[in-house]
Symmetry: C2
Subunit: 112 residues, 2 copies
DNA sequence: GTCTCGCGCAACCGATGGTTGCGTGTGGCG
DNA sequence: CGCCACACGCAACCATCGGTTGCGCGAGAC
């Protein structure tokens, strides 16, 4: 119970745009504000703000390279985030054993 | 990739207060706006709004009982939510195999 | 029959995700 | 060498959202 989740980390990962940014950075290895905004339906400035919060919670770290700032995912911190996701899911599973089977069925279902 | 996550469901579960409300309702079987607000650091109206969004995405359903409205968790819908959490975590894990080991270590670590 | 409890509606406030607009420095290149 | 363009940061502004206070109302308890 009480789940003891780091709300900051969770809410950082909670935003759909930030999740897609993390996806892109993981796929490409790194990302800049403009490169990410090219592949997202938001402006560079919006991406820059998101990079700011991701950086503040430590999910990414930046390295200036020439006139651009390259951001890449901090693997360990992301691992902590995924651990928290799993933890919350597990806590709910524990409460309702029935859920577990349904969740697994859905999981298997949407496995691509 | 592209994760195809239902952003509405995710963001419904993304709010810390709503997560605690789900916890409480799971623990007690049901909850009303006032009963939940008694055990949370927010007002009844805030809780009522949250119950509204949870109801809108189908995570809870309400049954009027006398002068109070009892809300209880829709197990199947919550199972879908947890499945999505697991799905996103899995997608990130898949990208960085290194993460998996670290995540498991943390998971084991905070197992209570 | 009245009083109280639980609820819904409305106005308001601060934070946040998003936008546009502008100024600036660095790098490529004629 | 000098200039242009690109990537960035800063600032103002807007809508939405989580939260609050304040109100009125209807159903239950006494």
């Amino acid at each position: 119970m009480s789940v003891t989740v780091d709300d900051e980390l969770w809410s950082a990962v909670g935003d759909p745009t930030r999740r897609r940014m993390l996806d892109l950075m993981l796929a490409d290895g790194f990302g800049t504000a403009t490169s990410l905004s090219d592949r997202l339906p938001v402006t560079r400035q919006a991406v820059a703000k998101h990079l700011g919060v991701l950086h503040r919670v430590g999910l990414v770290h930046a390295t200036p390279s020439g006139r651009e700032r390259r951001y890449e995912v901090d693997e360990e911190q992301l691992a902590r985030a995924t651990a928290q996701l799993a933890s919350v899911g597990a806590s709910w599973d524990a409460r309702l054993h029935r859920i577990k089977r349904i969740a697994e069925a859905i999981q298997r279902d949407r496995e691509n």
